[in-house]
């Protein structure tokens, strides 16, 4: 064992502890796509939260940039089994965006430019668990990774972190999204390996 330092083994063990069941580590950033990459000019970009009472809160790009910015560093877990540790982002916490939103809804349907949707309980978007991010690794977020802005909700499989995010519709009833209506798990917890319906 002489050539393997304790430090190296320690790092491996720490990485293994952060790897959910069935996942493997990658160093690159794979791109998976269900359609053509939308190109959204910033002067036409907007983000909206639509409540169950049909009240809409909107933010333009300059308005999003003017909000308090945070820099989460998180681990990503894709349902296709790759995981990427310590990814660095910049964006706005959804707690900030929800500050003035009055709602009693339990469910959220996230929708994107290009037509993609994904659903999750509203509580999974709050309390420091989710962000609208627009910079990755110190650079503007590339369109292939969801730029100008994507949802980041890293405690769930990455298909929940909708690229090209356009808005969140708050609902009294759960409304399954794009992959959730095509066999994928409704919730998608990587630590419980909730990949497909029935898992």
């Amino acid at each position: 064992m002489g050539i393997v330092s304790r430090g190296f083994r320690g790092r491996r063990r720490e990485q293994d502890d952060r790897l959910p069941p069935g996942q493997y580590l990658v160093d690159d950033f794979p791109v998976l796509s269900a359609g053509p990459t939308p190109r959204v000019p910033l002067d036409r970009w907007e983000f909206a939260i639509d409540t169950e009472a049909e009240v809409t809160h909107r933010w333009s790009w300059p308005e999003l940039m003017a909000l308090a910015q945070t820099t989460p560093t998180v681990d990503l877990h894709c349902v296709t089994k790759w995981s990427k540790l310590d990814t660095s982002w910049q964006g706005v916490s959804l707690d900030t965006l929800f500050e003035d939103v009055e709602t009693a809804a339990e469910y959220a349907l996230v929708y994107s430019y290009g037509g993609y949707t994904t659903n999750l309980p509203l509580e999974d978007l709050l309390d420091g668990k989710a962000w609208i991010v627009h910079r990755y690794d110190g650079e503007e977020l590339e369109p292939r990774h969801g730029g100008p802005a994507r949802l980041l909700v890293p405690h769930l499989y990455l298909w929940k972190s909708a690229k090209w995010v356009r808005g969140i519709r708050l609902l009294d009833e759960d409304w399954p999204g794009f992959w959730e209506t095509a066999g994928y798990h409704n919730y998608g917890d990587p630590w419980r390996e909730q990949r497909y319906q029935g898992d």
């Binding site: 269900a34 359609g35 053509p36 990459t37 037509g115 992959w179 095509a182 066999g183 319906q197």
Partner: protein
């Protein structure tokens, strides 16, 4: 955008797991814009997390296919119909 997708022939193997006919040779009609054409002419994204086949005319989703370890999910809501040629 032109290099992101495959053509509909990429669906031949996965659909052959489900159907005994070659579905890529069938003529489908897009539920969104009405364009008709062979399934093989669809623009296919995938294979992971699943196959998403889009209309070459309007880019709407015509067919989705997800393969899990012990089941497949096939969504054809975006197709009005499929015409499958059969032997007389």
């Amino acid at each position: 955008m032109t290099t992101e997708h495959l053509d509909g022939n990429a669906l031949a193997g996965p659909l052959a797991e489900i159907f005994s006919v070659d579905v890529t040779a069938a003529t489908g009609r897009c539920a969104s814009c009405g364009l008709s054409g062979p399934v093989a002419s669809l623009r296919v994204y995938g294979p992971a997390p699943g196959f998403v086949a889009r209309c070459p005319g309007c880019d709407e989703v015509v067919l989705r296919l997800v393969r899990g370890p012990d089941a497949a999910w096939l969504d054809l809501r975006g197709a009005v119909s499929l015409r499958v040629a059969l032997p007389e």
